[in-house]
């Protein structure tokens, strides 16, 4: 059975006070202008400090998922291009980057941070156009955090010996880095900044659907006058990534993406000396105790699952509510998702933007259909979705069983599964019953319970009375099948150094 917000609004008319009045508010559009943004008709590969044509001569189209309009076309790198890039990275590593004074290395990275800040508005607009995320998010979160990551790690470049007591620290060499489409520039920053600070050179492959801010970053890297070959950026699809993973002269692979691909990479590098870090999928529990500040918790639930259209590996996609507060939580949740503004990502009022790609939309639909088939009750906003582009209305399911697919599999979309529990022990048991272990949320006013839950949840990041917070000083990464290695903080240096 499915109830909709429209039905709720109907009942609201019959029974005033059921829904909050805020859900009826309409906002006039407030569009971010794009006239200051220049998107080139075509982007080449960034190898050895220059923009060069791909060996195959092939390009692929990149679109705006909110309109399905073509934005540009980008080069498709093949194994030859990967080889060229790795050779440039190796040369830059041996001849330049490992040799220059660490304090000078730091200054290059500071420059990148500053240039991102200077160009933040354009970067935010392009990020939103190419990825579908709301402009207020790319403007306030993605781009500032990307700059902050470079700024944070820049300062580490000449202080590495303080991070690894009683060890000599050396770089690893050439790093191959493969990043996802959900936070394109931010993920590039997470990968590049610590690798550069530790003295490595890099071949970076952005995601197939979101190459544009990576190419703007290539321009920034040029403008910062980084020595040629220190950072190389290759656009392409899965084949490009596979060629990078397989290249014999790459010393380290860092991958963020699905658990399935992560396992394939782990298998592919078996028998080699390559170092590996994986930041993979999640199915995070967000646990609400009866003594939690319920209104704040509801905001945390909403932010936890609908932030970035749910395209977040650490999304709080399994909500566990203590039985005594199920009724008010569900009621507040229904009201609150009705107030989420879904639509044009460039509108500064938009809360939920476009789904990143048709393929992702189809995956979300397939899993949501399975939820309905398995008998869970679906609640979905009945907002008017644009006729073009890829859209999925914010959705949650109640009456979800622990074994159902929507409680087990990562949906990577704006879809929440609500489950219930009685005791803290039961919450822990259910929360930890997953092969994933990236993140978890806990909501309670009881301090001792927070600390005990935080200790017992098997996940790399615990948000207590908050959710989806990120910072360059804060290590991020998973337990179990959510991967290994950390990004952020002092711990984020480890994957990019060799100790002796």
């Amino acid at each position: 059975m499915t109830t909709t917000i429209t039905e709720l609004e109907t009942r609201e008319r019959l029974q005033p006070g059921l829904a909050s009045s805020s859900m009826l508010w309409e906002y006039a559009p407030s569009l971010e202008s794009t006239d200051h943004v220049r998107v080139a008709p075509r982007y080449e590969l960034f190898i050895g400090g220059k923009f060069v044509e791909p060996h195959s001569g092939k390009y692929f189209e990149t679109i705006n998922p909110a309109t399905e309009e073509r934005l540009s076309e980008v080069a498709e790198a093949d194994a030859e291009d990967v080889d060229r890039a790795v050779k440039e990275a190796r040369r830059a590593y041996e001849k330049v980057w490992r040799k220059i004074a660490p304090s000078e290395r730091a200054k290059y990275i500071f420059r990148i941070a500053r240039l991102i800040q200077e160009k933040s508005r354009a970067l935010a607009v392009v990020e939103t156009m190419n990825g579908g995320k709301p402009i207020k998010e790319s403007r306030d979160i993605d781009i500032p955090l990307a700059a902050a990551h470079f700024f944070y790690y820049a300062g580490w470049a000449d202080k590495l010996e303080y991070a690894f007591p009683n060890r000599n620290v050396a770089p690893v060499g050439v790093a191959g880095q493969i990043i996802p489409w959900n936070f394109p520039l931010l993920m590039a920053a997470w990968k590049l900044a610590p690798a550069l600070a530790a003295g490595n050179t890099i071949v970076l492959k952005p995601a197939e659907t979101t190459p544009l801010t990576a190419m703007l970053l290539a321009e920034i890297i040029q403008e910062a006058e980084l020595p040629p070959g220190v950072v190389n950026i290759l656009t392409g699809a899965g084949g490009t990534g596979a060629a990078l993973v397989a290249h014999p002269d790459v010393d380290k692979i860092a991958f963020t993406g699905s658990t399935d691909v992560g396992k394939r990479i782990q298998r592919a590098i078996a028998g080699t000396k390559k170092k590996l870090t994986l930041e993979l999928g999640g199915k995070a529990p967000n646990i609400i105790f009866e003594d939690a500040p319920l209104d704040q918790a509801v905001e945390g639930i909403i932010n936890g699952i609908y932030f970035n259209q749910g395209h977040v590996c650490c999304a709080g996609s399994r909500l566990f509510v203590q039985e005594s507060v199920v009724e008010p939580i569900i009621r507040k949740l229904r009201e609150r998702i009705g107030t989420l503004r879904v639509g044009n990502p460039l509108d500064k009022n938009t809360d939920v933007g476009a789904i990143n790609s048709r393929a992702q939309l189809e995956k979300i639909r397939e899993l949501v259909d399975s939820g309905v088939e398995e008998g869970a009750e679906m609640v979905q906003t009945q907002c008017t979705l644009p006729s073009r582009g890829f859209w999925f209305a914010p959705t949650f399911f109640t009456g979800v069983s622990q074994s159902s697919r929507i409680a087990q599999e990562e949906i990577f979309g704006p879809v929440l599964s609500v489950l219930t529990f009685r005791s803290p022990e039961e919450a822990l048991e259910k929360a930890n019953n997953t092969p994933y272990g990236l993140s978890a949320g806990v909501w309670t006013e009881k301090g001792s319970r927070i600390l005990k839950m935080a200790a017992k949840l098997r996940a790399g990041v615990i948000w207590a009375n908050t959710y989806n917070k990120f910072d360059p000083a804060s290590p991020f990464g998973g337990y179990k099948e959510s991967g290994f290695g950390r990004e952020g903080g002092i711990h984020g240096l480890g994957p990019y150094v060799t100790l002796s």
């Binding site: 782990q266 092969p435 935080a454 917070k469 910072d471 711990h491």
Partner: protein, 289 residues
Amino acid sequence: MTRLAVRKTYKLYINGEFPRTESGRFYPVRANGGDLLANACRGSRKDLRNAVVAARKAQSGWSGKTAYNRGQILYRIAEVCESRAAELADELRRQGASAVEARREIDAVIDRWVYYAGWSDKYAQVFGSVNPVAGPYYNFTVPEPTGVVGVVAPEEPSLLGLVSRIAPVIVGGNTVIAITSESKPLAAITMGEVFETSDVPAGVINLISGLKSELVPWLAAHMDVNAIDTTGVADEAVAKVQQTAAENVKRVVHFDGASIGWDDARRAQSPYAILDFQESKTVWHPMGM
């Protein structure tokens, strides 16, 4: 008339008990000269699975003990090793070591337990952090055990190698299933008796003897094992283990004892060996009045 010696039956050590392999199989352990030393258990897949169940069951209790308590238990292992040094050395000698070599290895084993005992309540201080995030949040990172760890002990040194690899695993709150040296398992198996009398809770350390060629692939494939130490896996078999380990994203750790040396005071024992089997957990909480 000389008294007839009572020989020891070498068995497995699983869940704090000393069962024979459920398979009923054995393999001969021979001295360098070829003389039969013992019929050791040729452990099976079922034995390994039983050991994993025991290790999983013991894990939260072990990691839930205070660091001080874990340190005391490791120190107790050193004490019991010291009092059984003659027996352990005798086994090493029967397996081919000279008296001097055997005694040196036992001394190193005892000292290694003491070394790691001391780390129990310190590595979190050295490698944890309070993170100055840009916002009104208290944010800290602590190391936590990876969980259940499989350790493949090197063929040699059969006892020091085993101890050097399992001590950093368990001091960090993990539980372990170790496959002992195939060619020289005697002293390693006797270590089970040391653990059993050192207040190590049942299931925290499990020892399986047998043929690595059959045991290691099962350990690498087990979906409830979180990490595997391939130190004692034959070079040509390591790639296969790494491949299999990907099935549940196991952490794969390897210590190159042959080239670093088991006596290297900085690298054969080190807090970084503890960190190899730790996850980092970061906790956020808002600050406000």
